[in-house]
């Protein structure tokens, strides 16, 4: 039994826990950052948005947390 449990554990590494953030969190970090460090904050935010959507958060929920998104134009196929 122990071996089976250990095998499963090895096959499925623990997912890093997802912590909800607000846009303000990133704004504050960007304010404290200078130069290229601002891009580091932008990278972190981009990754957060992908992770949040993977966790099932909707655009509406993300907008409630202060994030903004562009309205995308129609594309004729």
């Amino acid at each position: 039994m122990y071996l089976v449990v250990q095998f499963i554990y090895m096959q499925k590494p623990l997912q890093p826990s997802f912590e909800k953030r607000s846009a303000q969190y990133f704004e504050q970090k960007a304010k404290q950052a200078t130069g290229k460090e601002k891009l580091l904050v932008a990278l972190e935010m981009s990754k957060y948005l992908s992770a949040a959507r993977e966790q099932g958060l909707s655009f509406e929920e993300l907008e409630k947390a202060g994030f903004k998104f562009a309205t995308v134009p129609d594309i004729k196929n």
Binding site: A23, F26, E27, A30, K31, G35, K36, E37, K38, L39, L40, V41, A42, L43, M45, S46, K47, L49, S50, R53, E54, F59, F67, K68, F69, A70, T71, V72, P73, D74, I75, N77
Partner: protein, 185 residues
Amino acid sequence: MKNLKKQDLNLPQYPISRINERLYSFVSSSGCIYHCYFFDFATAFSDYPELAPKVFGFNLELHFKPDDPITVPLDKRIAATVTTIVKAFLHEKENAVVYICDNSDNREKARYHKFTNWFKLYNDGSIIQLKRIVRAGNTNILNALLVHKDNPLLNDFIEAYEILTGSYTKPDDDELNNILNDDGW
């Protein structure tokens, strides 16, 4: 990439669905579903209040992958589809896009080369692309700026981006005075 035949570039894009006012989606022939959206990038350009509200980050996400996907080597229709989406967004000549490569799985270099090559191959000349690899903290940030060539703020976007990425140093007041008072070449 050099061996791409001319007809490959004419491959049709996948049909693009506008799921809602924020999100595009398309399905590749392997059955993978991709999502694309543009998010506010103003915090990075906060030193440029005129530009900041017009700069957007671009995320391309693999939303669904079948358990047993059909293998399509180098699916060029994905490239055609993504470039169509970004070009449509920039078509209004108002906004700029920054693509910043996710490094969560250490595949940022592959993403960077893939994405920037897509824009080399499928650019009809209307989009200016600047590529940069920036070192901040202990992280390499692979990114690219995309702007329509007729965007009235093109030069401002480029200058701000070059300063942000550390590839351009704005002249200080003394240097500017010297430049302005120098009547020779």
